[in-house]
C-alpha cells in the first residue's frame, strides 16, 4: 500500500502540529505549512494527492490555493477547512473544484474520513474505515 501524499495548510500552528501525526497514523505522508505562499511554492514543486487548506488566511486565501492546485493538476483532491463556513463559500469552493468542504471545529476522524474517501476516489485506499468512531 503506497502512502498518500498530503499537504496541510493552515495558519493556525496547532492544526498542523496535531493533524500531522493523526493523518500519518492512517498512512498519509503529510507536509505541513502555515504560510500559503510557501505552500504554493511546494505545490509547484511536488504533486500531492490531497491538499487540505484553511480558507481565511492573510496574503493568499484558501480559494486562491484551490484555484492554483486545480489549475496545476486536476487530479489532486482539495479539501477546504474553514471557521467561516457558510453556504455561499461552500458553493464557491465546490464550484471551483474542491473535493470536500468541512467546517471548523471538526474532529480528526472527520478529516480522516474525508481523506479516506478522497484516497478511495484516487484509487489509493488508506487504512481508515469511515464511521470508525461515530
Amino acid at each position: 500500500m503506497s502512502n498518500l501524499d498530503v499537504l496541510l495548510l493552515d495558519d493556525e500552528p496547532i492544526v498542523g502540529k496535531r493533524l500531522k501525526p493523526a493523518l500519518a497514523k492512517v498512512g498519509c505522508e503529510v507536509e505541513v505549512f502555515q504560510n500559503p505562499v510557501e505552500a504554493l511554492k511546494r505545490i509547484d514543486e511536488k504533486f500531492f494527492d490531497v491538499v487540505v487548506t484553511d480558507i481565511s488566511m492573510a496574503e493568499v486565501d484558501g480559494m486562491q490555493v484551490l484555484e492554483h492546485v486545480v489549475a496545476k493538476n486536476n487530479a489532486t483532491k482539495v479539501i477546504m477547512i474553514t471557521g467561516f463556513a457558510m453556504m455561499s463559500l461552500a458553493r464557491e469552493a465546490m464550484e471551483k473544484g474542491a473535493f470536500d468542504f468541512i467546517a471548523k471545529p471538526f474532529k480528526p476522524d472527520d478529516l480522516r474520513a474525508i481523506i479516506a474517501r478522497a484516497a478511495e476516489a484516487l484509487g489509493k485506499p488508506i487504512a481508515f474505515e469511515a464511521g470508525e468512531s461515530a
Partner: protein
C-alpha cells in the same frame, strides 16, 4: 473644566468599585436601570423645584396690566368730571353775577336819570329788588364760591342802596334849602354805594373768570398728561410682558437646540416665580426623559446590530481556537497511551492557551455588547482604539483591509464612558470598512489636537468618499446610503450624541473618490494621576 456630562458620575473610588461589583454579580442591564432610576429622581427633583416657587402667571400679568390701566383711566375720568363740574359751576356763578350786575347797572341807570332829569327813581328800586331776588335764589351757589362774608357784604350793600334810594325818594322833589343840601349829600352817598356794588361784583366776576380759565387750562393739561401717562403705562407693561414671553420662547428655543444636540440636562428653575412656562418646562422634562429612554433603546438596538455584524466574524474567529482544542483533545484521548508526559503537557498547555484565546475574543465582544450603565473614568484612548480594532479584526480580515494604527506617546487620558467611546470608534471603523474596497487601507491615529487640552482621533479611509450633497445629512438619524439590513443610519448620529456629551466634537472631511477622514476631538482629563490608579483597582478594567 465643567463637564457637560449628565451621566452617572463616579463620586468616590469606593462607590465605583461597588458599582462595578454589583454589575458583575447581576445580569447586564442593572447599570442602565440604575441610571434610569437616577434620572427619574432628577426629574422628580426638578419638578418639585419648579413647582415650589410662588406663582405669577403671564395671565396674571396681563390682568394686572389691564387693571392698572383701568384704574388709572378711572381716576383721570373722575378728575375730568370734577373739573367739568367745577367749570360748569363757575360758569353758572358768572352768569348769576352777570345778571346781578345787569340789574344793578339798570338801577344805576335809573339813578343817573333821576339825578339828571328827576325821572322815575322808583323803577330803580324794582331792579334792586330783582337783584336781591337773584342773590337770594342763588344763595347756595354764591355762598359756595364767595363765602359768607362776600355774600353778606353784597346783600348788605344792596340793602343800604335800597335804604338810600328810599330815603332819597322820601325827600321828594325838594331841590332847594336845607333839604336840597341833604339831598345833595344823599345823592353822593347813593352814587358811591352803587359804585361800590358794581366794583365788588365786577371784581368778583373777574376773579371767577380768571379761576375759570385756570380750571379749563388745567383740564386741558390733564388730558394731555393722562394720554402721555397712559401711553407710558401701556408701553412699559407690554414691554415687560413681551420680554417675559419672548425671553421664555428664546429660552425654550435654546432648550430645543440643546436637546437636539443630545444634551439631556433637565430644565431647572431659573426665575423666582412659577408661571405657564413652568407647565411647559415640566412637559419638556417629561419629554426629555421619554426621548432619553427611547434613545437608549435605539442605541442598544443599533449596538446589537453592530454586534451582529461583528459576532458573525467573531463566531468564526472563535472557531479557530475551538478547532485547536477539539483536535488536540481528540488526539490526546486517542494517543494517550503512546504519548509521553512531555507531549501530554504540551497538548494540555495548548488546550489551556487556546481556551484563553477564545475567552479573550468573547470578553472583548461581550464588553462591547453589554447593556451599559454609564461609568465615567479616565481612559487611555490608544488602548481603547486597539481594543476596538481587535474587535473589528475579523471584518477587516474578511474584507482584506489593512488597518494601520499609530499614536503619540504619553497622551493624556480623557474622562468618559469607555463603552460609549469604543462604540463611536467602532462605528467609524465599520463605516470606513464599508466605504473601502477589498485590499484597501484604513489609518487610525490618536494625537494631541490643535486646540490645547484636547486630543484628536482620526479614522481615515481611502474609499468612496462622501458626495457633497449628502455630506450635510450623514449625521442625521436614519440617514443611510446602505441597503436595508446593512445600514441603520444611526451610527453617526449616535456617535455625535456621545461625543457631544463628552464635550468633544466630531468632524468630517471627505473627497469623493479619494476617501474620508473623521476626526473626533475629546477634552483631556485635568487630574489624571490619582484617579488613574483607582481605576486599575476596579474589576471593570
Amino acid at each position: 473644566m465643567a463637564s457637560p456630562l449628565h451621566l452617572k458620575q463616579a463620586k468616590a473610588p469606593n462607590a465605583m468599585i461597588e458599582a462595578a461589583q454589583e454589575k458583575t454579580e447581576d445580569a447586564a442591564g442593572q447599570g442602565a436601570v440604575n441610571t434610569r432610576h437616577e434620572r427619574a429622581r432628577d426629574f422628580e427633583e426638578a419638578r418639585k423645584a419648579l413647582l415650589a416657587r410662588p406663582g405669577f402667571s403671564v395671565r396674571a400679568q396681563i390682568y394686572l396690566g389691564f387693571a392698572l390701566v383701568f384704574l388709572f383711566t378711572l381716576i383721570t375720568v373722575i378728575g375730568l368730571l370734577m373739573s367739568i363740574y367745577e367749570v360748569d359751576h363757575k360758569v353758572r356763578f358768572l352768569e348769576t353775577v352777570n345778571q346781578y350786575l345787569i340789574e344793578i347797572e339798570q338801577a344805576r341807570r335809573f339813578e343817573k336819570n333821576y339825578f339828571l332829569y328827576g325821572t322815575n327813581l322808583k323803577d330803580g328800586l324794582e331792579n334792586v329788588s330783582s337783584a336781591n331776588r337773584i342773590l337770594d335764589s342763588n344763595k347756595e351757589q354764591i355762598l359756595s364760591i364767595t363765602g359768607e362774608n362776600v355774600y353778606n357784604q353784597m346783600l348788605s350793600n344792596l340793602k343800604e342802596y335800597e335804604v338810600l334810594i328810599n330815603r332819597l325818594l322820601a325827600l321828594g322833589d325838594a331841590w332847594d334849602g336845607s333839604e336840597a343840601h341833604a339831598k345833595e349829600a344823599l345823592t353822593d352817598e347813593v352814587r358811591e354805594q352803587g359804585q361800590n356794588m358794581i366794583s365788588l361784583a365786577a371784581e368778583l366776576a373777574l376773579k371767577e373768570r380768571q379761576a375759570l380759565t385756570k380750571t379749563i387750562s388745567r383740564a386741558r393739561r390733564m388730558h394731555i398728561y393722562f394720554l402721555l401717562a397712559l401711553l407710558a403705562i401701556m408701553t412699559v407693561n407690554s414691554f415687560i410682558l413681551a420680554r417675559r414671553v419672548l425671553d421664555r420662547i428664546e429660552q425654550y428655543k435654546t432648550f430645543a437646540q440643546r436637546i437636539a444636540s443630545g444634551d439631556y440636562t433637565l430644565i431647572t428653575p431659573k426665575r423666582s416665580y412659577r408661571d405657564e412656562f413652568t407647565e411647559l418646562a415640566l412637559a419638556v422634562n417629561q419629554m426629555v426623559l421619554d426621548v432619553e429612554a427611547r434613545e437608549e433603546l435605539l442605541i442598544q438596538s443599533h449596538k446589537l446590530r453592530a454586534v451582529g455584524t461583528l459576532t458573525a466574524g467573531v463566531a468564526h474567529e472563535l472557531n479557530n481556537p475551538i478547532n485547536n482544542i477539539m483536535i488536540t483533545g481528540h488526539m490526546f484521548l486517542e494517543d494517550y497511551e503512546s504519548t509521553d508526559d512531555e507531549e501530554r503537557m504540551d497538548m494540555m498547555n495548548d488546550v489551556v492557551n487556546e481556551a484563553n484565546r477564545a475567552k479573550a475574543i468573547i470578553a472583548n465582544l461581550l464588553d462591547f455588547a453589554r447593556e451599559s450603565g454609564s461609568q465615567l473614568a479616565p481612559l487611555d484612548v490608544a488602548e481603547m482604539l486597539k481594543d476596538t480594532i481587535a474587535l473589528a479584526s475579523n471584518r477587516l480580515k474578511r474584507s482584506k483591509i489593512n488597518i494601520e494604527f499609530s499614536s503619540t506617546d504619553k497622551l493624556p487620558r480623557v474622562h468618559g464612558d469607555s463603552q460609549q467611546l469604543r462604540q463611536v470608534f467602532l462605528n467609524l471603523i465599520l463605516n470606513a470598512i464599508d466605504a473601502s474596497q477589498s485590499g484597501g487601507n484604513i489609518t487610525v491615529t490618536v494625537l494631541p489636537a490643535d486646540e490645547p487640552h484636547y486630543i484628536a482621533v482620526k479614522v481615515i479611509d481611502y474609499g468612496t468618499g462622501i458626495p457633497k450633497h449628502i455630506l450635510g445629512s450623514i449625521f442625521d438619524p436614519f440617514f443611510t446610503t446602505k441597503s436595508q439590513g446593512k445600514g441603520t443610519g444611526l451610527g453617526l448620529s449616535m456617535s455625535q450624541g456621545i461625543i457631544t456629551k463628552h464635550g468633544g466634537q466630531i468632524r468630517v472631511f471627505s473627497q469623493e473618490g479619494h476617501g474620508t477622514t473623521f476626526t473626533v476631538t475629546l477634552p483631556v482629563t485635568t487630574f489624571p494621576a490619582k484617579i488613574t490608579e483607582e481605576t486599575h483597582m476596579s474589576p471593570l478594567y
